[in-house]
Every structure is written in structure tokens, then in C-alpha cells.
């Protein structure tokens, strides 16, 4: 390759095509304009914009901090002579370099941090606040229907096949109703309680919006007497009356909706499933737990049932090696609180259920 090779130049100012004579000079590409002007494009600033279809020739631009999306001067030199292209390739080793605009990394960092901050603000600030507000204002019927769908979700989540989990033993049912009646005698509750036992080995119990309380078979089996079950039941009734489950379910549904948007699930089907799982595993706040405890102690005292049962239950199941009972996992610190309550409450009077009723409750799942 010798002499000047005519090439097309677009100066980045107008769309007019200029033909310049191009030669490989000392340290720079030299562009000779028709009017005698001479431009020097330094090799270290030369960048290949796009390869042409023949795989050998290309279009060139100069590296330059322009504030554009890519740091390139707007002028373009179309190199369509294979020999010239080869000479440029040899002279300009940085031809293929990708340059980030100045401050790009910082912008991405700022953008990412801002986005994460905004999402965190939504998840931990706005959503819980809205959940609390909505839980206060939600009409009772809506809350009950909402609770039913949460219970149905948990049921679907736990059931191995699609068989319903609720246990229907008539004598057991009667015993359970009697337990609830004794606990709540003399009190007017905000909610009609809808208590059910699920045929599942998990040592767990939870409250769902609108007065639903679910005890698992595993919990009844792990209890050594009816007072222990009554303690758990009283605690969950405390949550129901404080509208804790409504708030929690709304919060998890909202959070799940936003998370599913982030990971690209526009259907929101995952949202309800996540909400259901939250009901099983997520903890209420420390204040909510303390309030439910206090409520439970009051109920137990009014019913003449010792709070010691609750304390015994957790003292017994907590240290068992191997599997951590799920109820403890979702109610952190309750064993310690139960210990404290044992000291605070008078000795038990009568057991909450007779021996026969207790047997019936244990057999509720058949």
C-alpha cells in the first residue's frame, strides 16, 4: 500500500459525504481534504466502529469524551480498501478497544444503589405501612374471605395430594369448640373464631385473617395435656384479635408482588404462594408477640387454666435435638417468655378439658 487511498469521510456535522486521501503516517492516520486541509487521527485514539461484511474493512472513529452514550467523536471514516485496512490494523493496536464513558461505573453503582434503596424503602417502609392502614380499614367480610383464601393456600401448600386437610372427627370437634368456648367465655371477640385442625405432622399453629386459627395434628400430638394446646390457642387468638395475620398477609402479598415484578413474573401467581409460606414461617414483630402473650395469659387466667402448660410445652419441645419445632421457629423467644409467665401466674385450677374430651381431641384426625 502506498500513497493516499481515497476514502469516504463523514465529518459528524452534516450527512454530506466527503472524499479524503488517507495515508498511514508517523503516529497518526493522515487525512488529506480536497481543499488542501490536513487532519491527523492519532493511532492510539483510533477505534473500529463496525466491521464490514467482507470481514476485513471497517468504519473508524476517534476516541473522545463527548458525553454521549459511547465516548466517540461523531466523525466517521469509512475504510473500504483492504490494504489500507490491514495497514491501519498493524499501526493501531487499540483499534478494537471498548471504552466506557467517563464515570460509567459510578453511574451504574449509583443507579443500582438507588434502585435497591427504592425497592428496600418500598418493601420495608411503604408496604408494611400500607398493610397496617389497609388492615385497619378492611371490611370484615373481605377480611374473612381473604383469610379463607390464605388458609386454602396453606392447605394446598401442605397437602401431598389434593385431599382436604381439615380433620372432621365429631367428638374431637366438640372438644375443640368447648376449649375455645371456655377460653373466650365472658369476652366479646371482634371476630367469630374459625378454628380447624389440619392433618399434618408439623408441630405448628397459625392464625389467618378474619378469625381463622389452624392447629396442626403434630402440635396436638406433641402436647402432654389439653392446657398446653389451650395455651397455644389462646396465643393465636391474641394474634387474631390484634389483626396481626391480616397485616402480615397483606404485607407479604405486597412484597411478593413487587419481588415477582423484579424477577419478571407478571402473573402474580407466585405472590399468593409466597404469602402462604410467610404465614407458616414468618415471625410477627416482638411487640406483636408480647401483646399476644399478654392476651393469652389474660384468657388463660380468666378460664382458670394455668399458663404453666404453655411454658411446659415449649420447655419440653425446645431442647429436643435434631428437628427444631416449626412453631418455635416462627415464634422466636417464646420459650423464655413462657418461663417468665410461669412465675407471674397463679397455680392452675381445673384442666380445660376432661380426660375423655382430651382423648377425643387427640383423635380428631381419626
Amino acid at each position: 500500500m502506498a500513497g493516499r487511498v481515497p476514502s469516504a469521510l463523514y465529518d459528524g456535522q452534516t450527512a454530506r459525504r466527503h472524499v479524503v486521501g488517507v495515508e498511514v503516517g508517523q503516529g497518526a492516520l493522515v487525512l488529506h481534504h480536497a481543499d488542501g486541509r490536513v487532519e491527523h487521527w492519532p493511532f492510539e485514539r483510533l477505534r473500529r466502529i463496525s466491521a464490514h461484511a467482507d470481514g476485513r474493512t471497517f468504519t473508524l472513529a476517534l476516541h473522545s469524551e463527548t458525553g454521549d452514550e459511547v465516548p466517540r467523536d461523531p466523525a466517521r471514516l469509512v475504510v473500504s480498501d483492504a490494504g489500507l485496512a490491514e495497514a491501519i490494523r498493524r499501526a493501531a493496536p487499540t483499534l478494537g478497544r471498548h471504552d466506557l464513558p467517563r464515570g460509567a461505573i459510578r453511574r451504574v453503582m449509583v443507579g443500582t444503589v438507588a434502585a435497591l434503596g427504592a425497592v428496600a424503602l418500598i418493601l420495608f417502609g411503604i408496604v408494611p405501612m400500607l398493610a397496617a392502614t389497609i388492615a385497619e380499614r378492611m371490611p370484615r367480610e373481605t377480611e374473612i374471605a381473604f383469610g379463607r383464601s390464605v388458609v386454602a393456600q396453606v392447605e394446598g401448600f401442605l397437602a401431598e395430594d389434593d385431599a382436604p386437610l381439615a380433620c372432621e372427627g365429631a367428638a374431637g370437634r366438640a372438644a375443640l369448640d368447648r376449649m375455645a368456648a371456655r377460653l373466650t367465655a365472658g369476652r366479646t371477640l371482634d371476630y367469630d373464631l374459625r378454628i380447624a385442625v389440619f392433618d399434618h405432622p408439623m408441630v405448628n399453629a397459625f392464625a389467618a385473617p378474619g378469625g381463622h386459627v389452624i392447629l396442626m395434628r403434630g402440635l396436638i400430638e406433641a402436647a402432654q395435656g389439653p392446657d398446653e394446646v389451650a395455651g397455644v390457642l389462646a396465643h393465636e387468638i391474641g394474634h387474631v384479635e390484634a389483626r396481626d395475620p391480616t397485616r402480615l398477609a397483606l404485607r407479604s402479598a405486597g412484597s411478593a408482588g413487587i419481588l415477582s415484578l423484579l424477577i419478571g413474573d407478571m402473573l402474580g401467581g407466585a405472590a399468593v404462594a409466597v404469602a402462604a409460606e410467610y404465614m407458616l414461617t414468618a415471625a410477627y414483630s416482638r411487640e406483636a408477640e408480647a401483646a399476644a402473650d399478654a392476651y393469652a395469659l389474660a384468657l388463660l387466667a380468666e378460664a382458670g387454666v394455668g399458663a404453666g402448660g404453655l411454658a411446659d410445652f415449649f420447655a419440653r419441645v425446645a431442647p429436643k435435638a435434631g428437628r427444631m419445632p416449626e412453631y418455635l421457629a416462627s415464634h422466636p423467644g417464646i420459650a423464655g417468655r413462657a418461663d417468665r409467665t410461669r412465675a407471674a401466674v397463679a397455680a392452675p385450677t381445673a384442666p380445660i378439658l376432661s380426660e375423655t374430651e382430651w382423648s377425643a381431641l387427640r383423635e380428631i384426625c381419626g
Binding site: A15, R17, A34, V70, P74, G111, T112, V119, I134
Partner: protein
């Protein structure tokens, strides 16, 4: 020696496309695999790389287009859009709650079923304005990142005006059972075209919307056959069902015809800077044939892959069951990787066998007139690109390229 030669490159009136099967398949495969390995985060960079190849393969009067968008700005734009959408959807949910409309997973009464349907449709309707918003913004971003002869394309920021018009025309089209579809197509395309620029020169959409009616006739024929078939099923059910099927296919292909030909008609009625015009003659048959051929090829390939795959699974688990031991972990991993990689392969093949050939057909059936008028066009200012198509990415509505 060199003289200012003006715009007289060889084949000055032609649009050409030089992209080839091998390179784009390789590019789509590699970027697809990286996207998979990065749980989707790389998709913004993948799009930018693919576009750089495709744009660079398009030549207008001998000069290649250039795509200057970056994956980085698309990623940041996506994050921004997600936050905005999260806030918006949250606000919509609050309003619904305040009116007592709640999504109930297990409706028991009719009333609950109705409120649930209301809540679900209100939530999805709430996204619709953003879909149109994203459409306009995506086009604006792509134009702002396209250059020809070093000169930027661009579009005025007017996405909300587009949203209202799209909502209004969409409602009109639905109310008139599709009879005003050409009006919608024309008005929305004109809105975007009349706000588009090459350098300082504005594009203009000419023609009248009624000109698009002739391309709708096959949809009309298909729907007529469909209705006739539906009526006939009561009397003569086999023939009626056959007619329903024929009508359905006819209407579908008729709609493809409308899409392809309305693009051509709208392109023929566009001008730039008063002096530059376009001719576009895409063939519906060709587009359908490319899609059909590619679809059949990919289906056959995947039928073969599925057989191999099932044989592998049977071999792995059958052997393990006979030996009584657990299936070898290596084989399980290989099966899992193969399964996921098959999806990447399918996407890459669709790009190389269908999307690119259709694009090539559109481009090669276009010509440009009065290209000399480009010489007077002056550079326009850099557009920051707003959300860099982030809304379109968040709503998962990207096209082929």
C-alpha cells in the same frame, strides 16, 4: 486527486442487508448462554451486541447503519423502570383495597368471583398505559442510538401523548369490532413518524388512513367464513367446524398480510426533509414462507433432540434402577444443562432462521429516492435516551431485535 464527490455511492438508491446465518447464530447462541449463566442480567448486553451486528449489516445507499446503544444504559434504565412500576402497581392495589376490591384465591360467592375478576382486570389494565408508553420510549431510544453517515436519528419526547392516543384509538377499534383498525394503525404510526428525525430533518407521514383498508380484506373474508362456520355447526356440525378452522387460519394469515402490507404502504408514504422518499414492496407470501419454513425446521430439530433426550433419561434412570443405586450425578447435570441449553438453541435458531431472514426481506424490498437531499442534513444533539427502553424490558415486550 480526491474531490468532494457528494452522495453518489454505488447503488445509491438501495437498501441492502449483509448479515449472514452463521455469524448471527453464533452471536445469539453465545449471548443467550451468557444470559442464562447470569440469570438474565446479561440480556441487556446481549441485545446491544445483537443490534450492533444487525444495524451494521444494513446499508442505505452504500453506508452502513450504526447502533451506539450500550448494555450498561439499558441495565440502569431497567432498574429505574422496575422501581416506577412497583410504585405504580402498589398505588393501584391501594386504590382497589380502598374500594374493597380484593383478590380472593378461592371465591365462594358470585359477589366474590366478580370482585376478584374486577381486581385482576383492573391490575392488568393499570399496566396498559405503560405498555404504550414503553412502545414509544423504545422506538425513541432505538432511533436515538442509530446513526447513518455519523448523523444521529432521534425522536421528540412525547410518549404520554402517544399513550392517550393509543388508548383512545384502541378503544375505538374495540368498540367498532375492528372496523377502525386502519385508522388506529395510521394515526399511531403518523404520530411517531411525524416526531422522528434524521439529524435536523423531520420525517413526515403522508397518505390517508382509508388507504390501508384494502389490506384488511383477507381478515374480513376469514372472519366471514368463521362466522358462517359457527352458524352452520348447529345444522351440519362437521362441515361447520371445518369452516371455522378454515376461517380461523384465513383470518390469521390475513392479519399477517395486513401487518406486512400496512408497513409497506406506510413506508411508501413517508418522506424525509421534503425531498427524500421511500419505496417498500414486502411480499406477504415470502414473509409467511420464511416463518413457516423456519418453524418446521426448528420443530423437526427439536423432535429429534427430544427423542435423544428421552433416550438419555431412560438410559440413566433405567440403569440406576436395575443396579439399585442412585442415578449418576454427572448424567443428571448433563441432562439438566442440555434441557436448558435447548431453549437457548431454540431462541438462537429462531433469530437466525426466521427473524433475520424476514428483516432481510423487508430491507431488500426497500429503496430510497432523492438520496441527494441527505447532503444538507445537519447533526442533531445527543439524546440521553431517558429509560433506555427499561419499561419495555420490565414489561417483557421486546421484539426480535
Amino acid at each position: 486527486m480526491p474531490t468532494d464527490a457528494g452522495s453518489t455511492a454505488p447503488g445509491a438508491s438501495d437498501f441492502t442487508y449483509s448479515g449472514r446465518f452463521g455469524p448471527i447464530l453464533r452471536l445469539a447462541l453465545v449471548t443467550g448462554l451468557i444470559t442464562l449463566l447470569t440469570v438474565g442480567i446479561y440480556r441487556f448486553w446481549a441485545t446491544a451486541r445483537l443490534r450492533r451486528y444487525v444495524w451494521g449489516s444494513v446499508r442505505v445507499g452504500g453506508d452502513a447503519l450504526e447502533y451506539t446503544g450500550t448494555g450498561l444504559e439499558k441495565f440502569v434504565g431497567f432498574l429505574f423502570a422496575v422501581v416506577v412500576l412497583a410504585l405504580w402497581l402498589g398505588a393501584v392495589q391501594i386504590v382497589l383495597f380502598l374500594f374493597g376490591v380484593v383478590i380472593v384465591a378461592d371465591p365462594r360467592t358470585e359477589e366474590e368471583a366478580i370482585t376478584q375478576a374486577l381486581a385482576l382486570s383492573a391490575s392488568s389494565l393499570a399496566v396498559v398505559p405503560f405498555v404504550f408508553f414503553a412502545q414509544y420510549r423504545a422506538r425513541r431510544y432505538k432511533l436515538a442510538r442509530t446513526r447513518l453517515r455519523g448523523i444521529r436519528f432521534g425522536m421528540e419526547p412525547a410518549a404520554w401523548g402517544y399513550v392517550w392516543r393509543a388508548l383512545g384509538h384502541g378503544a375505538l377499534t374495540v368498540v367498532t369490532l375492528g372496523l377502525l383498525l386502519p385508522r388506529q394503525t395510521f394515526a399511531l404510526e403518523a404520530y411517531m413518524t411525524n416526531r422522528s428525525f434524521f439529524g435536523d430533518a423531520r420525517f413526515a407521514q403522508g397518505g390517508r388512513w382509508t388507504g390501508l383498508y384494502r389490506y384488511l380484506r383477507h381478515v374480513g373474508i376469514g372472519v366471514t367464513i368463521l362466522i358462517a362456520g359457527g352458524v352452520l355447526t348447529g345444522v351440519e356440525s362437521d362441515f361447520g367446524l371445518f369452516l371455522v378452522f378454515v376461517g380461523y387460519v384465513w383470518a390469521f394469515l390475513g392479519f399477517v398480510h395486513y401487518t406486512v402490507q400496512s408497513f409497506g404502504w406506510l413506508a411508501r408514504h413517508k418522506t424525509l426533509a421534503g425531498g427524500v422518499g421511500f419505496d417498500a414492496r414486502p411480499s406477504t407470501g415470502r414473509v409467511i414462507w420464511i416463518g413457516f419454513q423456519g418453524g418446521v425446521l426448528i420443530t423437526i430439530l427439536f423432535a429429534v433432540l427430544a427423542v435423544v433426550f428421552i433416550a438419555m433419561i431412560a438410559g440413566t434412570f433405567g440403569g440406576a434402577m436395575q443396579g439399585g443405586g442412585p442415578p449418576p450425578v454427572g448424567a443428571l447435570v448433563a441432562i439438566g444443562v442440555g434441557y436448558v441449553a435447548a431453549f437457548v438453541l431454540a431462541g438462537a435458531l429462531a433469530t437466525a432462521l426466521i427473524s433475520q431472514p424476514i428483516l432481510r426481506h423487508y430491507i431488500e424490498t426497500c429503496t430510497i429516492t432523492g438520496i441527494g437531499a441527505l447532503d444538507g442534513i445537519v447533526q442533531r444533539a445527543h439524546d440521553r435516551g431517558a429509560d433506555a427502553e427499561g419499561f419495555a424490558d420490565a414489561l417483557d415486550m421486546g421484539g426480535a431485535f
